[in-house]
Symmetry: C2
């Protein structure tokens, strides 16, 4: 039962889509390809036709879902803004708030954060992941350096340290929210939290 090329591509996407859900519900390690196949309404034969094994599926998912996230941060650097730090605050806040509406994105990030472990087969995935993170950190730094050039951030500030802090804080917020969403409401709690955090950056050091 050979399908047309379009149909084949459709089933491939269906498999990826199904993989998100199955990985999400059963965890990457415990999810079997049989389950993925069933969820996509095909057999394991189809899965093995399109992908070499589970790892390859995982990689495909990562490529598809994680990449666009970082690009948004990089784009903000291109735009001219009178106060880059406030701009960064705004971008970060927006990105986090987006989680509330996009369930698929939520699932995906939860996958990469909690539903898999990067030992063994997935170890090299972690490396690729870290490369992306370095880019992100450099982008954060760039915001602060830009702000220093524009005199909206004192020269005494340490861009690298600020970038690290922002990165940690964001990761913490996202982790905590995805870990137990009932803990706080994004729309209500995140803006003041971000406000609090960035306030300390914008105000020159005291005491």
């Amino acid at each position: 039962m050979r399908r047309t090329k379009e149909e084949a591509e459709q089933t491939k996407q269906a498999i990826l889509e199904a993989a998100i859900n199955v990985f999400f519900e059963r965890g990457v390690a415990k999810a079997s390809l049989e389950e993925v196949a069933r969820a996509a309404e095909v057999t394991r034969g189809a899965v093995y036709w399109h992908f070499k094994n589970k790892v390859e599926i995982f990689e495909a998912l990562h490529e598809k879902l994680h990449t666009p996230f970082i690009e948004q941060i990089l784009e903000g650097l291109e735009v001219d803004h009178p106060n880059p730090v406030e701009q960064l605050q705004h971008i970060c806040t927006t990105l986090i708030l987006a989680l509330e509406e996009d369930e698929q994105l939520r699932k995906a990030i939860q996958l990469f954060m909690f539903k898999c472990d990067y030992s063994g087969e997935l170890a090299f995935c972690k490396n690729r992941f870290n490369v992306k993170k370095q880019e992100k950190l450099k982008a954060f730094e760039a915001y602060f350096e830009k702000a220093q050039r524009q005199q909206t951030l004192p020269m005494s500030a340490d861009p690298r340290m600020l970038a690290l802090s922002v990165n940690c804080f964001i990761r913490g917020v996202v982790s905590e929210y995805l870990d137990s969403p009932r803990q706080f409401t994004l729309k209500q709690d995140v803006p003041p939290m971000m406000q609090l955090f960035f306030k300390s950056i914008l105000q020159p050091a005291a005491s």
Copy 2:
């Protein structure tokens, strides 16, 4: 070959110790009890004698390693301190810095954070963990409320929001560090980061 009670307790601890390493290297899901047994230099018989299954081992590890962490925070509340917020900053900083020296603790936390997924069998573990987290959050809040009573924190501050922020920031720092330790040096980077963060709390709101 029955052992004395002390010896039995020793092997139990040896199994837990071994489990940390095996879980860490292979991931919780993929680690087999056979591997754990070998690492502890016993057979699966011993493992099944002391524990019902892998989940019970996991729980035991959590009980053993995660609990003392929280208690330290609670203890600080008992002590009298002129400035509870600074006290909290100091406690948190110390706790994080401890990671640099205690490899076993590092491994354990990495386990709970990255090397397992809480789907399926471990789902209810997550619930128990969340209960603990609630306690922790309440403790954080208590610090801030205490500070308000002692007039070292403005009444306009929102203890719950501050507690959430602290919790997120700490989680972020710990996550980032354990995820890629080469990214920053605890001793050098964490104190200023914490300083930056808590500064925004201690200084009354502006702008």
